[in-house]
């Protein structure tokens, strides 16, 4: 593709525009999608964390209710060691499988009652246990311990969360203060939290908000072993909400929710790179799509521009052919509508040029022919013979003055006729020529007619075709005056009218019929040698031919609307008017210089 060709321009414009549009849409879509992905991830994490918190809270609520029921049951009973109380408590505990054990401990650390009846350790010291301490410190407040191994019982080391609170019990008729302990299997909390997944790698952990101790973590053992770490401090600052944690090697999104009354926090950890992976996948996809569309658009624009440009190039090729002179070339009519029309017009134009050239050839031929004929008429031997004959006669009659006049006029006549072979001469010369002609003819015809020149000065500088008046005068004399018995009058007028030169030759002779008039100009151009019926009647000067010759020449030179105009009435005379455009003589030198 050459630079700046239509095909190139269309291709580039279309490609650039499409690429820009696609790029813009892609960027907008990418932004929107990635934003949505991020928002969704965040919302999802929040929902999951909320759900876990809700479940845990619900579970703990349930446990504290059971604790309340047990507390009530023990408080109301007459004696802690009653068998009836034991069975009641066994029933309550039986409802919830996750209750590991239940114990009432005196404030001195002595175990008053324990369910189920598992053997206690021998050298048991409960006094230092945290759950015991917190129950003693805040006797009316239900305390929850962190998950720990319950070591009250022999050969049983279960991970439990201990619920403890101060209690007043009746034993052996005495009222004593003590602590009610309920151990709940930690497995349930473990299960509630461990099943949660946030993306592929994300997880949930639970932390105690007062001391920052880990309650549950899926990788708790690794954390205790120092193989993993969790940024707990930051999570502890939040009661709820989300934030970004960029402290580790991986960028994380942390969501916090606090569980009421137990003082635990559920913390959701999801990994930002999982969101970024989604983004990257989206990015890759859009990039691929973009490339594909670009290839497609480039191919399309190339094709479209080719469809448009190809016929234009074909047209150009045809034009080049014409330029080289091959006017027979024809461009194929195809391509878009405009190009199709252009091709049609081009073809029509070429055809018209061909036609015009043909016409020019014909016209040039005709011009030469008429010029030849005009030349012939200039040196009409018949006229010369008649004139010389008259001169001879006049010499015989000793009319020397007239002889001189005749010979002078004849010489002038020929000088002007020749006029260096130019086809155009000043109107003044043409009129001079006419005058000389009339002088000679007047002498020949023994004053059979008078003549009159009525010429506007302004018309004189104009150029005129050579020898256009002579055939008309000849025609007037031969057909109008000679056959008439009366003395005739020939008037030659010249004037300017609307930028046109008007030459008029009128006689008061016999005039012509309409038929004769029509025949005069419409006689077949090709048959000029054949005299028209009208002229054949007259003397053999071929004057009809001469008139038509004038008409054709004027038409050839000046075009269609110009030429001869006849007005004739029988017995009244004939008037012939010639009209042609005014052109000053000095223009002629260059304007017509090249004409042959």
């Amino acid at each position: 593709m050459r630079k700046r060709s239509i095909q190139f321009l269309i291709s580039v414009a279309l490609s650039v525009f499409s690429a820009a549009a696609i790029m813009m849409v892609s960027v907008l879509l990418y932004n929107k999608f990635s934003q949505t992905a991020e928002t969704n991830a965040l919302r999802n994490t929040q929902q999951v964390v909320d759900q876990v918190s809700y479940n845990l809270e619900d579970y703990i609520q349930g446990m504290s209710e059971i604790y309340g029921v047990i507390h009530d049951t023990i408080s109301r009973s007459g004696d802690v060691n009653e068998e009836e109380l034991r069975s009641q408590l066994n029933t309550i505990i039986g409802i919830r499988g996750e209750i590991v054990s239940l114990a009432v401990i005196g404030h001195d650390g002595e175990v008053m009652m324990s369910i189920p009846g598992v053997a206690l350790k021998e050298n048991l010291s409960l006094y230092n246990q945290r759950w015991f301490q917190s129950a003693l410190q805040t006797p009316n407040h239900l305390s929850y311990s962190l998950p720990h191994v319950q070591n009250m019982y022999k050969m049983q080391y279960k991970w439990v969360v201990s619920l403890s609170k101060g209690i007043t019990v009746a034993r052996s008729g005495k009222t004593e203060h003590g602590v009610l302990l309920l151990d709940v299997n930690f497995n349930k909390i473990n299960q509630l939290s461990s099943r949660v997944v946030l993306g592929k790698k994300g997880y949930v952990y639970i932390v105690d908000e007062s001391a920052g101790n880990m309650v549950y973590h899926p990788q708790q053992q690794l954390i205790y072993a120092g193989l993993k770490s969790e940024n707990v401090e930051q999570a502890l600052k939040y009661t709820f909400g989300s934030f970004h944690d960029e402290s580790g090697d991986e960028d994380k999104m942390i969501t916090v929710q606090t569980i009421g009354n137990i003082g635990w926090k559920v913390v959701g950890v999801s990994f930002t790179d999982e969101i970024i992976t989604t983004k990257r996948e989206l990015n890759d996809y859009l990039l691929n799509l973009l490339l594909l569309l670009l290839v497609f658009v480039i191919a399309m624009s190339w094709l479209i521009s080719r469809i448009i440009a190809h016929p234009i190039r074909q047209l150009e090729k045809s034009m080049k052919n014409v330029e080289r002179g091959d006017f027979h070339t024809m461009t194929a009519i195809q391509g878009p509508l405009e190009v199709e029309r252009l091709s049609t017009r081009f073809n029509l134009m070429v055809a018209r040029i061909r036609e015009l050239m043909q016409q020019i050839v014909v016209e040039q031929e005709a011009k030469r022919k008429y010029e030849f004929e005009a030349l012939q008429s200039q040196i009409n031997p018949h006229f010369l013979y008649n004139t010389l004959n008259t001169v001879v006669r006049m010499v015989g009659m000793n009319r020397n003055e007239e002889v001189v006049t005749t010979i002078t006029s004849l010489s002038k006549l020929f000088r002007i006729s020749l006029s260096k072979g130019k086809p155009m001469i000043p109107l003044a010369s043409e009129l001079e020529h006419a005058r000389n002609y009339l002088i000679i003819q007047n002498i020949r015809f023994k004053n059979k007619f008078d003549y009159l020149f009525d010429v506007e000065e302004a018309a004189l500088p104009s150029l005129s075709l050579k020898l256009i008046l002579q055939p008309l005068l000849e025609n007037a004399i031969m057909h109008g005056i000679e056959p008439s018995v009366d003395k005739g009058l020939i008037t030659v007028r010249a004037w300017i009218e609307a930028g046109q030169v008007c030459l008029q030759v009128s006689d008061n002779g016999l005039g012509m019929s309409g038929e004769q008039l029509a025949a005069l100009l419409t006689a077949e151009a090709g048959g000029t040698t054949k005299p028209s019926p009208a002229s054949s009647v007259a003397s053999g000067a071929g004057s009809g031919v001469g008139v038509r010759n004038v008409h054709e020449r004027i038409r050839l030179f000046y075009g269609e609307p110009y030429g001869l105009q006849f007005e004739s009435e029988l017995e009244e005379g004939t008037t012939v008017t010639i009209r042609f455009p005014f052109k000053p003589a000095d223009v002629e030198a260059e304007g017509r210089g090249g004409e042959g």
Partner: protein, 332 residues
């Protein structure tokens, strides 16, 4: 009409391009999935010395934690009980038949280790040894307690308990297990440095012939014994129970044991034995799988990872950080 034909061609091109776009679209999705699968379908063969006991349970739990994290499929195999070297090697070779991506193994002696290294080397597998002391080359990463150092630590603790003076008996399992030999060497080295300490015997005490307690009993009857260093759990339990029976508990005869079990912890609380030297089998299992995955990914892994040991006594038994090591966190 050639314009129409051109338009027809254009339409065909459009359809082709759209089809290509759809194809490409599905391709990229396919690719994304492939890459997701690519490194996540890892098969790792975990060869252990045995499958029973708290120690090996913890190792397996640690390995499982890592397998979950790194998306690894674990294939665990071990000879029944503590197999002979021949049995161990047999089990290892059997496991390799299934073409794992990597092998994590615990092996008792150099013969077995060499066998596994040879088999794994032929298959060009990443090899990670856990709980295995060896100088054998060709292993990507060795994760273990320095048993020699552990033996020294236990011996020094005994010296401390006996205030630098007394006679100490050793209970071994009589096998040629590298770890056991290292521990024994460490103990002997440390005790030799103390002028007041004498080693009065190294008795094999095997669970297979159930004679552990009679070994301890005859040991106690023969001479004055101030301390017992039990190199394995079975020997420790037998010693503690015998001492309890003979009424020598409560520190009259000091016992220091290697590794723990529920029974042993119970006896520790009863003060039938004084100190338990524990490893962190969970971490060993976890790191074994983790390093195997890293080696598979072509990342650099430390050739030697020395694990810490802890001396547990009745006082620090229930410290929160010790609870996690001693009592299985996830109860089955």
């Amino acid at each position: 009409m050639s314009v129409n034909r051109r338009l027809g061609r254009l339409a065909m091109l459009c359809i082709a391009a759209i089809a290509a776009a759809l194809l490409l679209g599905s391709c990229t999705m396919q690719r994304a999935e492939d890459s997701a699968i690519q490194r996540e379908n890892i098969d790792i063969s975990l060869l252990l010395k045995r499958l029973d006991g708290d120690y090996w349970n913890s190792v397996v739990m640690g390995a499982e934690a890592a397998s979950k994290e790194f998306n690894v499929t674990l294939h665990i195999s071990a000879p029944e009980k503590l197999g002979s070297p021949e049995q161990q090697l047999e089990t290892a070779k059997l496991a390799m038949v299934h073409h794992p991506d990597a092998v994590v193994f615990a092996a008792g002696n150099d013969e077995v280790i060499a066998g596994i290294v040879q088999a794994g080397g032929t298959a060009r597998l990443p090899l990670v040894a856990i709980d295995t002391e060896t100088n054998t080359g060709g292993i990507n990463s060795i994760i273990t307690v320095d048993h020699h150092q552990a033996g020294r630590a236990a011996a020094l603790k005994m010296v401390e308990l006996l205030a630098g003076k007394g006679s100490v008996a050793l209970l071994t399992d009589g096998s040629d297990d590298n770890n056991q030999k290292s521990r024994e060497a460490g103990i002997r080295e440390a005790l030799a440095e103390e002028s007041g300490m004498t080693v009065i015997g190294s008795e094999p005490c095997m669970e297979r012939n159930k004679n552990c307690r009679s070994v301890v009993s005859s040991l106690l009857n023969k001479q004055q014994v101030d301390g017992i260093l039990a190199l394995n759990v079975q020997a420790a339990v037998a010693a503690a129970l015998e001492i309890k029976k003979q009424g020598l508990g409560g520190g009259k005869v000091k016992i220091i044991a290697f590794d723990s079990s529920m029974e042993l912890l119970e006896l520790l609380q009863e003060d039938q034995l004084q100190v338990v030297l524990v490893q962190n089998p969970f971490s060993i299992g976890y790191l074994g799988i983790k390093n195997a995955v890293l080696a598979l990914r072509g990342e650099e892994v430390p050739s030697h990872v020395a694990m810490e040991t802890k001396l547990i006594n009745g006082a620090n038994l229930f410290w929160p950080e010790n609870q996690r090591v001693l009592f299985p966190f996830i109860q089955k």
